[in-house]
């Protein structure tokens, strides 16, 4: 699994990082501290046909992004 640490970045940077990350076939763990970026990244990944699980830990959001089976 590839980890993308987008904490401290605000949109569109996390979204751009995810867009670049999705080019490979690997599952992705994206970490962000922005609710806005979480929503944008979740919407974008789902639109691209990926499944997304979001968990929240100490102010950070972890998005597990997998290829939908």
């Amino acid at each position: 699994m590839k980890t993308i640490d987008a904490r401290g970045f605000s949109c569109p940077e996390p979204l751009l990082m995810l867009k670049n990350g999705l080019k490979s076939d690997e599952d992705i763990l994206l970490m962000t501290d922005s609710k806005n970026a979480t929503q944008n990244c979740e919407d974008f990944a789902k639109k691209k046909g990926f499944s997304v699980d979001v968990t929240q830990t100490e102010g950070d959001y972890h998005l597990q992004i997998r290829k939908a089976k």
């Binding site: 401290g8 970045f9 605000s10 949109c11 569109p12 940077e13 751009l16 919407d43």
Partner: protein, 353 residues
């Protein structure tokens, strides 16, 4: 369904309050122009002798965003992502806005009033956004933000409260224009109430004029753009009903008809705003919710307004000023230099490193 309608409804709301503000005394086609509000407030503080009035709308916007972000527990003092660079970019954006005579919000509002000069500015605005996106795609970054002291997050709202107290109890301390755009304003309580609500709505909806166009092109996400279109449609209808729709280039309120400079001015606004991560409206809303990087951008815009008026860079209804093109050129070169450096020579610790 409701989620899909949220942003168009925000656009409708912004259109209605803009119409209300003009009906209650704000200058024609000003509506909810952030560049105008910050310019007037900069003058009220004595930073320049141009249009001056401590706009209650901007005070409300900051406090409304703060209140709602506190309620939703999203008020989080953050900063440290190149604040001085953001200050400078904010100043560049304001120079561009005052060459055009308005921010992206006013561009839409002017278009809705039939002002075709704003329509000439639109391709410039989109061009500036595209140029900024080129750098973003190549790795432009102002680096990560960090948590900062709570006092940093509350500094701007406290300044807003002090400005409000000044307006209410010692108005003589603040400069207020006796003629021109600074002298035309809606009653304080109406402007403040509208500002508060728009600040809250702006925070929840994350409305951003630059983001609308940027995300449509970059991510094929058109939801933000729908707010833009809704605002335009509501205001065209409102202006037609109120008899304020005047299609043409000539005689438009607080506007000039120099096409080249309308195009270039908004181009710089679009370019600088993409690098900042949001339009002037979004910067003020974020600044109210504890984002000190946006506070730096707002201070930069306020400073930029002072530069624009003290050095006669700002346009007027008569046209572009003699110094305007020079000021624009300097601001544009600075903004491009910031983009080039933070894209190609400043990779360590960036999003792409």
């Amino acid at each position: 369904m409701l989620k899909k309608l949220k942003l168009p409804l925000v656009g409708v709301f912004l259109g209605l309050v803009s119409l209300a503000l003009v009906a209650h005394g704000n200058p024609g086609n000003m509506g909810f122009c952030i560049a105008c509000f910050l310019r007037d407030t900069s003058g009220a503080l004595g930073l320049h002798n141009g249009p001056s009035y401590a706009r209650p709308e901007v005070i409300g916007l900051i406090l409304g965003a703060m209140i709602v972000s506190l309620i939703t527990k999203e008020f989080s003092p953050k900063g440290g992502s190149a604040p001085i660079t953001r200050f400078v970019l904010g100043a560049c954006v304001m120079v561009g806005a005052l060459v055009f005579l308005g921010c992206p919000t006013r561009m839409v509002i002017r278009m809705a009033g039939g002002d075709l000069n704003a329509l000439v500015g639109l391709p410039g605005f989109v061009g500036g956004i595209l140029a900024g996106m080129f750098f973003l795609n190549k790795g432009f970054t102002l680096k990560r933000t960090q948590k900062v002291a709570k006092t940093d997050g509350f500094a701007l709202p406290v300044i807003a409260v002090l400005l409000l107290l000044g307006l209410l109890f010692v108005p003589a301390l603040l400069s207020t224009s006796e003629t021109g755009p600074g002298s035309m304003h809606a009653p304080l309580w109406i402007a403040l109430a509208i500002g508060l609500v728009v600040g809250g709505v702006g925070f929840i909806s994350r409305m951003c004029f630059v983001g609308g166009i940027r995300d449509s092109i970059m991510f094929k996400n058109f939801s933000m753009l729908s707010a833009f279109v809704a605002l335009l449609v509501v205001m065209i209808i409102g202006n037609l009903i109120m008899g304020n729709f005047n299609l043409g280039f000539e005689g438009q309120p607080v506007a000039h008809n120099d096409g080249l400079w309308n195009f270039l001015g908004l181009g710089l606004v679009g370019f600088g705003s993409v690098l900042l991560g949001g339009c002037p409206f979004r910067q003020v809303v974020l600044a109210g919710s504890g984002n000190t990087d946006s506070v730096a951008a707002v201070f930069g815009m306020t400073f930029g307004a002072a530069l624009a008026h003290n050095f006669s860079l700002a346009s007027s209804s008569a046209g572009v000023s003699e110094n305007g093109p020079w000021g624009f050129a300097i601001a544009a070169v600075i903004a491009v230099a910031i983009a080039v450096y933070n894209t190609f020579f400043n990779k360590k610790g960036s999003a792409n490193a």
